[in-house]
Every structure is written in C-alpha cells, then in structure tokens.
C-alpha cells in the first residue's frame, strides 16, 4: 500500500486509478469515520474522496429503468420525484436514515457497500430489482444484490471495485412499493427490523407479482417468497396474515441489545404485512406520503 494519503478525486478515472493503487473510497464518511473512532476498523491508510464526482450523483432515466448514482444522498432520494413516484420504498427508507445531517452526507452507494443487514435502503433495492454497477479502471460489471452481500459487513466486491450506481428496473403500471421499519424513537434510529414490499396488481385488484425483503433478521437482507401466498389473490386480512406468518418463519434473527430473536421474529412479520399493505395501496393509486412510517404511524412514528 502507498504511504498514508488523502486526496479528493476530481474525476472518476482519478478515483479508480487511486483505488487500483490501494486507496479506499470515502463519500460522506459517516460509517468510515465513526467506525474508526469506535475502534471497529482503523481508517484505511490511503483514502480517496469521491463525494465531489457529479457524474456519480445523478438520477437518470435509462431505457429499462432508472440509474441512481452511488453518490446520491439520502436527502436527495427522499425528495427526488422519480424516486418518490416510482421507487417509493427507496424514498421511504432514505427518509428514515439517521438524522437530517446524516441524510445530507450519507450516500446510497455508501449504504449499499457497507453491507450491513440493518441497512435501510437494502430491502427496498432488493424488492425493486436493483443491481449494483461496480467499476474498476479496467472494467464494469452489474452484480445482483443477492450476490453482492455475502455476510454482515461483507461484500463480494474486489478492493479496487467502486460502486458507481444502482440500476433499478422500470416499474410496470399498477405497481407500488413501500418500506417500513420498527423503531423505538421517531428519529435517530437504526432498524430493529424492517420490511420492504413491491406489489403489482392485475385488473380487478388481484396480485400479479409481489416481492418482500426483510431488514435485520438474517446475516444479509433477506428475500421472502410470498408469491405462492399472494399471486392471484386479493390483499385482504387473510392474505396479509399469511404474509406476516411467512415472513416471521423465514427470519433467522439474533438476540441483541435492541431486541430478542423472539420479538424480532414477531415484529418482522408485522412489518412485512404493513409493507405489503402500503405497497398495495400505492399500487391502487393512493398517495401515501414519504416515509410510510410517519404517514401511517408505525411504532413510535405513529
């Protein structure tokens, strides 16, 4: 590794070259600097700041969906009209991250590459069918999120690979998505458990496609197969109850300071049910403000 250094990248090429030479990228620095101060991991010997790369901070329509640059902040995600209208679950999640200041500096790419199973944007990205775009000075590849996250705080990205964007699939008509989480306070929280859902409704209101993903109940964001339960069915009390049960059964939570495994298993079912319900309401054209937690009153956010 090169001698200790810090530099501010003026171009993506410069950033990738520095990473090829061993530098680690820093965007908002919230995870990196706090982690270093808490002794989780020392600051890397060589840092390249990538937060000024405007080409990584754009939200742009693509032929088959939307490309969200890795340096897009949570503050932007929660208010950007494309995200709010089409990828509501992601906006819901961004609006719940930390505080206004952490949302200002924290980025989508930073959140994704941190690889925490408690990351709020992870479950929404999964249900929205996102892939991560990883780039080196030599090549670019698209990686499914299920392949990216390999364990708590671990990703399959190589050291010289920079996450430059998340690519989200186009949204069909009559679709909706939502993210909810359990929180003990109305702000400054980390997900105890959370759930995202994406729902596409057929004519007549039956479910055409559905996906659900869970936060903080497994080593990585956990996809739950509820298609068998919901596809072709109406969203009603009975099917929602089954969603909750399915999610609770799928979860493999741990016990820690924030909750016991038993309580997590129960509440993640409640969150899954509420996420599906809110996503379906949005699919029917109902406007539910961002974030759902505060609009509908989930836990402390009621």
């Amino acid at each position: 590794m090169s001698s200790p250094s810090f530099s501010i990248a003026q171009s993506l090429d410069e950033a990738l070259t520095a990473m090829a030479a061993g530098a680690r990228p820093v965007a908002g620095g919230t995870d990196l600097v706090v982690g270093a101060r808490q002794g989780k991991a020392p600051l890397p010997g060589s840092l390249i700041a990538i937060d000024r790369l405007d080409e990584l901070a754009a939200i742009t329509p693509a032929t088959d969906g939307t490309r969200i640059g890795a340096m897009v902040t949570h503050a932007t995600l929660m208010t950007n009209p494309i995200v709010v209208e089409q990828y509501s679950a992601l906006a819901d999640a961004a609006a719940l991250v930390g505080s206004p200041s952490t949302r200002n500096v924290g980025t989508l790419g930073g959140n994704v590459m941190n690889g925490s199973p408690a990351m709020d944007t992870g479950a929404p990205l999964v249900v929205l069918g996102a892939t991560a775009e990883l780039q080196t000075s030599a090549a670019t590849r698209q990686v499914a999120l299920a392949d990216l996250w390999t364990g708590p705080g671990q990703t399959s990205a190589a050291d010289d690979e920079l996450c430059v964007a998340l690519n989200l699939a186009a949204r069909p008509a009559n679709s909706g998505s939502a993210y909810v989480r359990l929180e003990y306070r109305r702000a400054m929280e980390i997900a105890v458990v959370g759930a995202a859902a994406s729902v596409v409704l057929a004519e007549g209101g039956a479910v055409e496609t559905v996906s659900v993903a869970l936060t903080a109940v497994a080593p990585t964001i956990l996809s739950v197969d509820v298609a068998g339960v919901l596809v072709g069915e109406q969203i009603d009390e009975a099917t929602l109850k089954t969603v909750a049960e399915t999610a609770a059964e799928a979860a493999t939570p741990i016990s820690d300071l924030r909750a016991t495994d038993r309580y997590r298993r129960h509440t993640v079912g409640v969150m899954a049910r509420r996420a599906v319900e809110a996503a379906a309401r949005r699919a029917r054209g109902e406007r539910i403000a961002i974030p759902v937690n505060r609009a509908l009153g989930i836990g402390a956010a009621q």
Partner: protein
C-alpha cells in the same frame, strides 16, 4: 402546539451561549497543558495482583503516571467512606480508576494508559440485589465493618445502609382490611446524561491549585480535593466555566483530585475531557435500579388502611452520596397518601455496578412509578376511578402523611384537579389510547448559603455568589431578586459565580436548592444595601428613612414620586465613604419536627420542609402489534410555591417531563453477565429526540408557603421528573388491561405483557 404565554426573561449567560463565545471546560487551553487519560479496571470485580507503571512512565512524552501508591492512603465518601481515589487491592466496578496518565497529547496519553500493567484475579460478580442480601453472597466490601461510618446508619454485609419508615400498626391494619393487593415492581438503572461530557483542568502555582471543572457543586468538589489530597480549603480554588448540564450526574466530588495530583506530579497544567463512553461508565452518579414490593390493605369504600413495603436500592460498588436513598425511596413508595398504618423496610445494596448517586430526584421516579402503578391497581380492585381514588386518599392541607408529618397549606388536590382537567381526563378515546394519571412529591432542602451584593460608584451592580448555574436559570434569577429589593432593573446586575475563592459557600446546583437558599442570601445582602441607600436618600431628600421607597432606579419619598434621587447618584455618594457592600447568609428555614416519628436509620429525609407536589396526566397511544408506545401529550400541575421566573420554571417542567418519558420508555442501563454495561452509547441508550417530544402544558399551583425560599418559593428542578413515568405506566395499563411492572417499559416488555395476557 401548546406554548404557555409567559413573560420574557433573557438570562445573563444567554448571549454567551447562543453566540458560541461562552467557554466550557473542554474549551479551555493553558500554555504547556498536558492531556490526561485514565486506565480503568475494565472488569467488574477482581483482586489486583499487579500494577506496574514502569513501561508507561518510560514512554517519551509521558510526564506522570499515578496510582494509589502516589496519593494519600485514605478512604472518602459522605456517611459511608468506602472508596479510594485509585483502586487499591480490589476493583469493584468496571469504571474504577486504576491509574492516571498525563502526557504531551491524547495519543501518547492513551498509549501510556494502555501500557500500565494491570493484572488481577477475577472475583464473583455481585449483581442481583436479592441474592446480594443473603448470607451466602460474596461481599463487595470485605472490610465493610472497618469503615468509619457516621450517623444513624444500620449496615450488614452487602447492605451499605438500611432505613425504615413506620407508623401505626401495619399488621393490625392489614388484618382489618377488606382486601389486600400485593405486587412487585422492578426498575432498571439509568443515566443523568448531560450533553456536555465532563472535563477537568488543573494548574498549580506554588502550593495552591486552581481547578476548572464541570461540577454542579464547586464547594463539594473543593472539599473532596482537600480531603483526599490533604490540603486546606484556601489553597484549592474551584472555578466552573459554563456548565453543560448536570441533572445530578455532575454532583459530588469526582475526578478533580486525580487531575490535580497529575498536574502536581507533572509540574504542568493537565486537562481531561471525557468521551461519551467514559461519561457513561466512570462517574459515580448513575440513577439506581430498584426492586419494590408493595402490599396494601384497602377497605371496600376505597380507603387505604395499611401499606407494607420492601425496597432494595442498587448502591453499586461505592457509596457516593447515596446513604439517604433507602429512606427517600421508602417515602416515595409510601407516597403522598393518608395511610394510618405503614411499614417500609429499605436497603441500599452493594453490587459490582457503577455507583449510584443523586440523579435528578434520586429514587423518586422509580418509587413513584411503583407506588402510582400500584395505586391504579388498588383503584381497580375496588372498582373506583383512579383519579377519584387518589382524591380520596391523597393528603391535603392539615392531613397526616406516612411518617406522621402534618402538612401545612399544600396544593396536591388542586394539582390533581388542574392536570386532569387540562388533559381532558374522562373523554372518550380510541381503544389504543388512554390517559394515565400519577401524583408525586419531593422535599425542599433548606441549608446554609451565602452571597455578596455590591453597587459600585456608577451604580452598576454585582452579585457575588457561591451558587452554581447548571442550566436551570436559578442563578440567573438572582438578578431579579436583587433588582426587586433595590428598585433596579435585573440588567443592572452582573453575576460573579462558580468560583470558590471569591464567593461564600453554597451547596451548589443540587437538591433544587439554589433559589430556595441562595435566593434568600441575595435578598438579605440586597436588603443591607437598600438600608444604606435609604439612609443616603433620606439625607438628600430631607425625609425620614422610613418614608424612602426604592423604585425605578431611584429613591423617592413615599407619596411624592417627584421628590427623588437616582440610585446612581446615591451610589456615587456612598463610594466616598462606607461602600455599598451587602452580605447575606440568613439562617435557613427549619425542618419540621415530627413528634414520635418511628424510623430506623433516619438520614434526615422523612420530615420534609416545604414539600412540593405534582400531578401529571399523560395521553398515550400504543401500537398493539409491536408494543411501541408514543406519548401524545402531557398536562402537568405543580405546587412549587411561588414562581419567581416563569420562563425558567416552565423550562424545568418541560425538561423534567421529557427525561421522565425517556425513563419510562427507552432509557435503561443494560448489564451483561460480566457486570459491565452493554449500552454505553447514545445509539443504544436512547434519549427522547425533538421528534418524540409531545406538547407539554403546565399549571403552577402557587400555594403560599412559609419556611421556604424567597417570597414562598419552594424547589422545582427535580419535582417534574417524579411522576411522568408513573403516569405513562397507568395509561399503558389501561390500554393493556394490566401494568408493565418493569421499568423502562420498553416496546418489547409491553409486547411481552400483552402476549402473556392476564399474568396478574
């Protein structure tokens, strides 16, 4: 949003605080200053086998490394002197200071602290209050019988102090009752958590030391340094710059002597500023965990005839200022009720936890939570509305309380009426909402206190006081008292405070006593100047002294406002002769005497002077599926006597209430099996945020009170912290159909209670 319309009052220290120019300890730098770090035990209970500082001292840039060998070998602490400055032979909690280092910068200091060789054999952890009280338990202090205890302080093994309160014949009362309700309530400990982590800077000049420190009690801090470093009080000067909150967490004597000793050894100024984690772990001022058993005998008409109680209070590893906690806890679990037969046994129990100490109304929020949760259970047992039940059983003017004290004019019943009315108690609510009500009480603490007031030749005023401002505005209010005595404007006065070398003694920002005691001192000092001014004015105006009135910055003859002379002119005249210097140190009001009071281990907190009363009515909504509760609004009524500074008074209630909501729902220390705290960080120890805070309305029941502070003021800073958690508990119990008998009532505990169903 409900904001009470109150008169505007701009505090004297306010401009410093809003512009960033105000200095706190962390903001101070002295030339040549070194940085200190402590080496902590990091283990809850262990026999020390080796401490070796050789390697640490050898690190370049290290100026001093101190251990117990380097300071006087003596035990200190009020009532039960059971601790040393540095760990000696045994460590009894994880935050105990083993060694202290002063070095050229923080990195080197930390390196040296880490390089101190500290070896030990682990001892069994004492962390269960009931088990600790058995004969089989390991001892936290094997030498407990040798300690030089003072006062009426019964003790036994791990019971550091014991008190009882007793009245009537509880066995007979219980036997005569129509029904008896018995329950256990368990409260976890929690933290004061001022936003400013504490700091200390010490500098020696010759044989004198000046210590800048974030303490609420400068004179206590000074006395602690004098005692532990064996120095006379006039060679130790404590100065407190601005203090970033305390809530009791910065009461007592903490680390001033460690830093002073380092500075002496290093021959340099030395500074320490705590990290947030250290602020969680090391100070001996955690709010105590408690186990409370209550058994109450009732008649079918709802009258309470007997109460028996058993209380265990977690002392932690050392007795900070906690010797009086058992008796105070007993008073709170008995409550402000007319109960003819009472017996409460209460013990302060050593464990290997962080020491407990006076955090804002010590023992009261927990005791009140148990008592008032129990009260709603009693009301339910006789099918009475809990408010009507309280109105029937609560004390009123002239009633006899739980230790036989007859109360002078008090406003408790009015508090109940005002709070329930403001909350709309009795209205129809959705089935996931309820209004819970609780009442609380808290004593005032009269004591000695001193101040000087002077007017200089230009008429500008100075108040020189030993009082300490910790944010409440109590010291700021002193300007108002002096100005009113002298017919001047509060803005005419500056306040010199928080410096033990220049001002006379005051107890400090503790026990809600600043206005009560120092207010009287400032009034007394100002009165002396008023007499001088009147004498000069009488001469100038050729009138009788008795006819002179001081008002609007001038002295005039009563009935003839035109016949006047300005105070500035009088000050100028006085400056040529006997100067305008007043001193105040009035005899404190008496504590009430209770004939025949029958209490074992009396620590002086059963007979209450100028007692304060309160009622909180809280509207709560519960997310039944998750157990997450939210406080939607709270109506408070307080009898704290006369309110002198309304803005500050409302601020005290609002801050106390929010702290109470945190204690109720989200704040609690979690201990691991190793006796160490698992959540010493703000992400896992959850304070209420701006987004959580509900609207708070406050009514002051201004009961005229003699034997109190100036103009009949009682204390106020602690009282608002007392009944909030209890009121929330009662709202939750209404929604759930049964109470959550663990504090904090976390979402998971609420959910467990609801799923357990009917586990009465």
């Amino acid at each position: 949003m409900a904001v009470t319309d109150t008169p505007r009052f701009v505090r004297a220290d306010g401009p410093d605080k809003v512009t960033g120019s105000g200095r706190y300890v962390a903001d101070l730098t002295l030339t040549g200053m070194l940085t200190a770090k402590f080496r902590y035990a990091g283990v809850a209970h262990a026999r020390i086998t080796k401490i070796d500082v050789t390697a640490a001292r050898a690190i370049p840039g290290v100026f001093a490394v101190l251990t117990a060998d380097d300071v006087p070998d003596l035990r200190y602490s009020p009532v039960v002197p059971d601790r040393h400055l540095f760990a000696k032979d045994t460590v009894r909690f994880e935050g105990e200071v083993v060694a202290a280092v002063a070095a050229i910068n923080a990195e080197v200091a930390q390196q040296a602290a880490d390089a101190v060789v500290f070896e030990y054999d682990e001892l069994p952890i004492v962390d269960d209050l009931e088990a600790a009280m058995t004969d089989e338990s390991p001892l936290v202090h094997e030498d407990w019988e040798e300690y030089a205890v003072t006062g009426d302080t019964p003790r036994d093994r791990n019971v550091a102090t014991f008190s009882s309160i007793s009245k009537g014949d509880v066995d007979a009362g219980m036997a005569a009752a129509d029904l008896v309700v018995k329950q256990r309530y368990v409260a976890d400990g929690c933290h004061a958590l001022p936003i400013e982590p504490r700091g200390v800077v010490a500098q020696w000049e010759g044989n004198k030391v000046t210590i800048w420190t974030s303490t609420q009690v400068p004179f206590d801090a000074r006395n602690g340094v004098c005692e532990t470093l064996e120095m006379p009080s006039n060679r130790v000067r404590i100065i407190v710059p601005h203090l970033g909150g305390g809530f009791g967490g910065k009461c007592g004597f903490h680390f001033e002597a460690h830093i002073a000793a380092l500075a002496k050894a290093a021959k340099r100024p030395v500074k320490i500023v705590f990290s947030r984690e250290e602020e969680f772990l090391a100070p001996d001022r955690r709010r105590e965990s408690m186990i409370i058993d209550l058994e109450t005998g009732l008649m079918n008409d709802g009258s309470i005839v007997a109460r028996r109680g058993w209380v265990a209070v977690d002392n932690g590893a050392y007795t900070a200022d906690s010797a009086f906690f058992p008796q105070l806890a007993a008073m709170h679990v008995a409550g402000p009720y007319k109960i003819p037969n009472v017996h409460i046994d209460s013990s302060l129990v050593y464990t290997n936890h962080q020491p407990s100490g006076s955090v804002r109304a010590p023992t009261a929020p927990q005791g009140c939570w148990a008592c008032e949760t129990h009260t709603d259970e009693l009301a339910s047992a006789v099918n009475m509305d809990p408010v009507a039940f309280r109105k029937m059983n609560a004390i009123d003017t002239g009633a006899e309380g739980v230790v036989g004290q007859i109360y002078d004019e008090i406003g408790l019943q009015d508090c109940i009426d005002a709070a329930t009315k403001a909350a709309g108690y009795g209205q129809d609510l959705p089935d996931d909402e309820a209004i819970g009500v609780a009442i609380g009480w808290w004593p005032s603490f009269p004591g000695p206190s001193g101040a000087f007031v002077r007017l200089d030749a230009d008429g500008a005023g100075q108040i020189v006081t030993g009082a300490q401002e910790c944010g409440t505005g109590a010291v700021m209010t002193l300007r108002q008292l002096a100005a009113d005595e002298l017919g001047m404007d509060p803005e005419d006065f500056e306040i010199i405070y928080q410096d033990t070398a220049v001002a006379p003694y005051d107890t400090g920002a503790t026990g809600s006593q600043t206005l009560l005691n120092n207010g009287r001192a400032v009034v007394a000092a100002a009165e002396q100047i008023a007499e001088q001014l009147k004498a000069h004015a009488a001469e100038q105006l050729e009138a009788a002294v008795g006819d002179i009135v001081l008002a609007n910055g001038a002295a005039h003859v009563a009935g003839s406002p035109d016949k006047s002379v300005s105070i500035n002119e009088l000050a100028e005249i006085a400056s040529g002769g006997e100067m305008l210097i007043g001193k105040g140190s009035p005899v404190p009001p008496d504590y009430p005497e209770i004939p025949g009071m029958n209490c074992v281990g009396d620590q002086g907190v059963a007979a209450w002077a100028a007692p304060q009363f309160s009622c909180h009515a809280v509207r709560v909504r519960l997310d039944r599926d998750t157990g997450v509760a939210r406080v939607l609004g709270i109506a408070c009524a307080h009898d704290s006597g006369t309110i002198i500074n309304e803005v500050a008074a409302h601020g005290q209630v609002e801050g106390g209430v929010l702290m109470g909501i945190g204690q109720a729902l989200t704040e609690g220390t979690v201990y691991g099996e190793d006796g160490r705290q698992k959540n010493p960080a703000l992400l896992e120890y959850k304070l209420q945020t701006f987004a959580d805070a509900p609207p708070i309305t406050t009514t002051f029941i201004q009961t005229p009170t003699t034997e109190a502070g100036p103009r009949g003021a009682k204390g106020l800073a602690e009282a608002p912290n007392v009944p909030t958690a209890a009121a929330i508990s009662n709202a939750l119990a209404k929604i759930l159909g049964q109470p959550v008998r663990q504090l904090p009532m976390t979402a998971e505990r609420i959910w467990e209670t609801s799923t357990a169903g009917g586990n009465q």
